[in-house]
C-alpha cells in the first residue's frame, strides 16, 4: 500500500463547478482548496469582492462537509482541532449565558422561576453540547488512526528519494535512446517510401 496515498488531495467530483456562475461573476475559476488559492475576480468592486469571498468560503465549507472535496489528512486533523476548540468555547459560553438563576443560600429567597420557552429547551443543552464535544474528540481519534504510519524516518525517506531519482534517470536515458532509434527508423522508412512512390510513378508510363 503506497504510504503517500492517504496524504494526497483527492477530488471526488468536479461537476459542481458549473453552479458557481449565478453570482454574476465573470472570469472566475474555482481552484482546489480555499486554503491554497483564492478566486481571482475580474471587474468587480471591493464590496462585491468581500461578499464573493465570504460566499466562496461558505461554498467551500459546504463542499468539504458533504464530502465532494477531501482535504489531505493533516489539514483535516487541523480542522478537527479547531472545531474542538470552537465547540468547547461555544459550550461554555452558551451555558454561562443562558443558565437559569440558581438559589445560592437559604438566606435568600428562591429566584423567580419564569417558565419561558428558554428554560424548557435549556435543560438538554448541556447534554447535546457535551455529546457534540465528545463526538468531535472521537472523530479526531479516528483521523489519527487514519494517519499513515511514519515508517523509518527522515533518513529513510531521503534514501528512498535518492534511489527513485537514480532509477528515474536510468529509465529516462533508456527512453531517450529508444526514442532516438525510433525516430531514425521513421526517417528511413519515410525515405524508402518516397523512393518507392517515385519509382511507382516512373514505371507507370501512359500508354
Amino acid at each position: 500500500m503506497n504510504p503517500a496515498l492517504p496524504y494526497l488531495l483527492r477530488v471526488d467530483s468536479l461537476a459542481w463547478l458549473g453552479s458557481l456562475i449565478p453570482f454574476g461573476i465573470t472570469g472566475c475559476g474555482l481552484l482546489l482548496t480555499k486554503r491554497f488559492v483564492r478566486i481571482f475576480v475580474v471587474r468587480l468592486g471591493f464590496a462585491h469582492l468581500f461578499v464573493v469571498s465570504s460566499l466562496f468560503d461558505l461554498f467551500c465549507e459546504i463542499w468539504v462537509v458533504f464530502g465532494f472535496l477531501k482535504m489531505d489528512i493533516i489539514s483535516q486533523l487541523q480542522e478537527q482541532v479547531n472545531s474542538i476548540a470552537a465547540l468547547a468555547f461555544n459550550t461554555f459560553g452558551t451555558l454561562q449565558r443562558d443558565a437559569p438563576p440558581v438559589r445560592l443560600s437559604p438566606n435568600y429567597p428562591e429566584p423567580p422561576a419564569n417558565p419561558t420557552e428558554d428554560t424548557a429547551n435549556f435543560a438538554d443543552q448541556p447534554k447535546l453540547m457535551s455529546a457534540a464535544l465528545v463526538k468531535a474528540a472521537k472523530q479526531f481519534d479516528a483521523l489519527v488512526a487514519a494517519l499513515p504510519s511514519s515508517e523509518g524516518g527522515e533518513e529513510a525517506q531521503l534514501r528512498r528519494i535518492a534511489e527513485l531519482q537514480a532509477e528515474n534517470d536510468a529509465v529516462g536515458q533508456e527512453l531517450q535512446k529508444q526514442l532516438e532509434a525510433a525516430e531514425k527508423e521513421l526517417k528511413q522508412v519515410q525515405e524508402l517510401f518516397s523512393q518507392a512512390a517515385d519509382n511507382c510513378l516512373n514505371l507507370k508510363k501512359p500508354d
Binding site: 496515498l5 486533523l77 476548540a85 527522515e154 527513485l164 529508444q178
Partner: protein, 168 residues
C-alpha cells in the same frame, strides 16, 4: 529608503543600451539571495523551518526525541485536552474565580497539538515527492514499453512487405 508615488525606473537601465546587439555587454542579474533579506521594511528568511515550541516560549508537553510516535502523542494529547475541558467545567461550577489557570492550560494543549501537526508536514511533503517520483517512473516505463512494441511491429510489417514483394 526614499518613497515616491510614481518612482522612476532604477538608474542602471542605461547599462542595457546595447543588449539586443550584444547580450554580454550588460551586467548579469544578481545571484539568488541566501539567508535573511529585507523586503519592504520586513525581515524575511530563505531558510523556512518550523520554530520549535521553546523558541516561542511555549512549554512542550509531548515527549521529545529523534523519532516521535505521532499517533500515540496525538491521542494522548487529545485525552488530556478532554480532561482539561472537564476540569474547566468543574472549576466554573465550584470556584469560578480560578478559571484563568485552566484556560491557560487548555490553550497550551492546543498550541502543542498544532505544533505537532505542523511538524508532520515535512514528512508529508517527502512522502508526496516519493509518490510523484514513483508515478513518473511508472509512466516512463509504460512509454518505453509502448515504443519498443511499436518498433517491433514496424519491423515485422516491413519484413512482411519485403516478403510479399520478393514473392512477386
Amino acid at each position: 529608503m526614499a518613497t515616491a508615488t510614481y518612482p522612476p525606473p532604477p538608474p542602471y537601465y542605461r547599462l542595457y543600451k546595447d543588449y539586443l546587439q550584444n547580450p554580454k555587454s550588460a551586467p548579469e542579474p544578481p545571484p539568488p539571495i541566501e539567508g535573511t533579506y529585507l523586503c519592504f521594511g520586513g525581515n524575511y528568511t530563505t531558510d523556512d523551518v518550523l520554530p520549535s515550541l521553546e523558541d516561542q516560549g511555549v512549554r512542550q508537553l509531548y515527549s521529545k526525541g529523534p523519532n516521535i510516535d505521532f499517533k500515540k502523542e496525538l491521542r494522548s494529547l487529545n485525552r488530556e485536552l478532554q480532561l482539561h475541558i472537564l476540569e474547566l467545567a468543574d472549576v466554573l461550577v465550584e470556584r469560578p474565580s480560578q478559571y484563568a489557570r485552566r484556560v491557560e492550560e487548555i490553550s497550551l494543549m492546543f498550541k502543542n497539538l498544532h505544533h505537532l501537526l505542523n511538524s508532520l508536514r515535512p514528512h508529508q511533503a517527502r512522502a508526496t515527492l516519493i509518490h510523484i517520483l514513483e508515478l513518473q517512473i511508472q509512466r516512463r516505463k509504460q512509454a518505453l514499453e509502448d515504443i519498443k512494441r511499436r518498433r517491433e511491429e514496424a519491423q515485422r510489417l516491413l519484413k512482411e512487405s519485403l516478403g510479399t514483394l520478393d514473392g512477386q
